[in-house]
Every structure is written in C-alpha cells, then in structure tokens.
Symmetry: C2
Subunit: 276 residues, 2 copies
Amino acid sequence: MNIAIVGLGLIGGSVAKSLKGLKNAHVFGIDTDQMTLEKAKADDVIEDGFTSANNILDKIDLTIICVYPKATTNFLSENIELFKQDSIVIDMAGVKEYVMDAAKASGVTKRVNFIGGHPMAGREVGGYDSSLETLFDGSGFLLVPDENASKESIETVIEILKFMGFSSIKNTTAKEHDETIAFTSQILHVIAVALSKNDYYYADKAFKGGSFRDYTRIALINESLWSETLMENRKYLLKRIDEFEDEMRIIKQALLDEDKPTLRNILKNDRLLNED
Amino acid sequence: MNIAIVGLGLIGGSVAKSLKGLKNAHVFGIDTDQMTLEKAKADDVIEDGFTSANNILDKIDLTIICVYPKATTNFLSENIELFKQDSIVIDMAGVKEYVMDAAKASGVTKRVNFIGGHPMAGREVGGYDSSLETLFDGSGFLLVPDENASKESIETVIEILKFMGFSSIKNTTAKEHDETIAFTSQILHVIAVALSKNDYYYADKAFKGGSFRDYTRIALINESLWSETLMENRKYLLKRIDEFEDEMRIIKQALLDEDKPTLRNILKNDRLLNED
C-alpha cells in the first residue's frame, strides 16, 4: 500500500513516524518545504518526498491530509483529478462540518473513499521538529466517514490508526464532532487564553499549584491554526461559551448573595464522581 | 522541639508524614477523631494523639493548624490561654485576611509568634488516608507573618518547611495573598466546576485530550472546605471573575464579528512565551 502524508508538521510528522514498521506500506511525503522533506527522508520516515502532488498522488492508495482546514479543502478540490480512483483519503483537521461539506461540494467524495478525521492529541509546540513517534499513543481519534466511503475503507483506516497508537477510535457525525469538540477542546483553550491576559497570570510561581501549570500549557496554542479552527466552528463554540457563562453567573450570584449552602451544592459534584 | 499538628486530614496528615526524621522534634497530633489519631500513631508519624488541646498545647513550641478557616480562627481564640508564651503558631488555611484579622482581634498574636501559611499543594481526595509524605515536594508555600512574629520564629518555620519538601517559600501579605490566590487557584476551580455542569462534559472519552483530563481533576473539590474558602475570599474572587468575563467577552466578540485577524492577535501569546 502506498501512503502519502500531506503536510509534515507536528501532526503529519508524527503520523509518518508512527507508521514506521507498518507492513507492506510505502510512505511518501508531500510538503511545500523541501528542507522538511529532506529531514523526514534522513530520519527514514518517508521513502521519498514531493513538493507537489503532481508526480505521486495518482499512485497513492491512502492519502492522509495533515494541514489547516482551508488548506485541506483546497488540496481536495485542486487535486480532484489526480487522486487514484477508489483510493482512501482522510484528513486531520479539527473542524468537520466545514471540511466534509467542502469535500462533498467538490465532488471528490464520489471519486475516493473520503473519511474525515480528528486526532485528539497535540503539543504546545508545532512543526516537523516537534513531531513524535509516540504522539498518538493512548489517544482518541474521531472518525467522520463520508456516506459514500465503503465499509472496507473504514476498516482499513481503523487498523492503521490502531497501528499508529490511537486507543479510542470513535465513529461520529460532522455535527456531533463539531458540537462536542467545541466543548471538550476548544472552549478550554479559549478560557486558558482569556486567563492569560490577566496580570496575576504572571505572579510569582510560589502562588501556583499543579492546576495552574496545566492552564499555562493549554494557553500556548498556534494562533494561525487555532484562529482558523475556532472561527470555522464559531457557531457551536459560541453556544458552548454561552452555556459556560450561564453556569459562571450562577456561581457568581451565590458569592454575591453570600449564600454558602447554594455554593456548597454547586461545588458538590456527584455526577463527576460517578465518572470513571 | 515539641510540634503539634491540629487536624490530621489530607494536609495535617501529610505535614506529620513529611516531618518524619526531623532532628530533635517530637510530633503530636490533635484531632477530634480518635481513630485517625490511632492510625497516625500506628504509622509512627505522631508520638501521641490528643482529642483536645487541653493536655498538650502548653508544652508545644510549634503548633501547625491544619483545619478549615473558621475552625482555625476558633482554635486560636478558644485556646488563647493554653498556647505556650512566645511559641510559634502557623496555620494552613487558603484565605489569609480572614484568618490574620481574626488572629489579631483575638489577641493571640501578642502571646505567640503567629505566622499565616498556605501550602500550594493538594489532592482531589481528602482525609488522613489520602495524606502523603511527598505531597509538598517541590511545591510553593506562602508565608504571611503577623507583624509581631519575630525574625527568628520566621526563620525556624522556613527551615522546617524546607525539610517538609517545599521549594519556593514566599513572604507575602494577607492582601496580596488573597488577591493573587483568587486568580492562581480559586478561579481555576470555579471555572472547572462551571464546565462540569455541561452535558458535553460527559461525552465519550474519544472526544477528550490531555487538556480535558486536567480540568476533571480540578473540578473535583471538597465542597465543604471550598465553599468556605471561596466565600471568605469572595471580595477578590468576584474581581477576578469580572476581569476574566471581560476577556471572554473580547474573544466572543471577535467570533461574533467573524474577525479572524483580531482573534489571531488575541491567541498570539507573546507574553506567555516569554515566561519560563
């Protein structure tokens, strides 16, 4: 099986590295940066590298697109004639309605088995040099197959994801993905960024416990990638922010009312305790 | 030196355990629960245990009070005649204006060297059984000495805190402590609790990355202790919440305006990057 990874940044580089040793696989890289391709070749994680899809895409059985959302949809529409008929194409962008709708509109979903994806793993640093063979070990992966993708193509992808180290692989819809991820990932980063604007964020480290250090890590995000991803998902993200603000208001009111029994009830988290 | 630990819960138990091996020290426990005292004796972390201060406090050179804020101030005022003249008394409560003001009002600060304290360490589980010898290793400790506490008493306390494992010990004022801790600790837990009220908090684990797991830990707090601590510090906590809500509003507005350059600027965290 010929595999092409489009974009050898943090995610694409980690994909390439985690595919090392996959049986009967030939892994190629497509990246606009020749230096990155050279590095990946030197690291022995790709067999060969290409600065354009033209000379390689028609021989590829599985294309893994690891670039920003807009660049993902551009790659799909620009190379529609180049993709090998009935090959498998997956992407790794953090918003799925946007990508899946554009893929369908471009017609590519009729030519290939298109499966949207989103790895629930990352680092606070980006680029190929930050990529890790172990980045995905034990992580979740969200799978959003287009309705035209065959059962066999989905099974092939799941097998490869497992080889890469993902441990909880979940089939979901673009809508459910975007609604949920707005909460389980996006709003957490938004909150951490909002907090990082406060002068007390830079207080002496003696004032800070473990919980604080976790927030610092989350606030450090790639502003190019995240401004695009948050903006493309603003419909659901704004809903999650509204819901969060409602809950904050309830806590604030208990403090304003000096109502300790209510505050105590709010802090009592029976539901959370019953989570595994 | 005779040391008494008042309250052998998570913090008091960890204090007792971390004092193991301190030279020339005799460590005693004061706790209303006889069973806990028996356990601590069996663990060889206290020499003897007492359910009341009456038979032991007048022989104690260093009293470490490890109970809730109100119980702390009660212990100080109820035992004012029992404390050994010029002995050292420290407390471990998470609010300091409240405790320091009450200590001064009670007159105890004239009899003993009173030093307010706050260990920046904790766990999401409480009680003696959760206490750890290593709980404070590498943690911060905030020291708020009363104006009447001698230089020598402060030095003695710092030496013992270092023995217990604390690595950044900072002298601060009650006001600075309460203003800062409202941000570096309290608001983080308030936010985590507010988030935990959302149904998406209980989404399939495949949707959740490392950042999410950090929040789950922070949301799990002892509602009795925290409702008291947050309420006693509501003046500063409400300010920090207002500041945070202002920053959230700015991000929300950029999303509503579909203003990607502004969002990108907000997410770009140069100041954070310059932090060590």
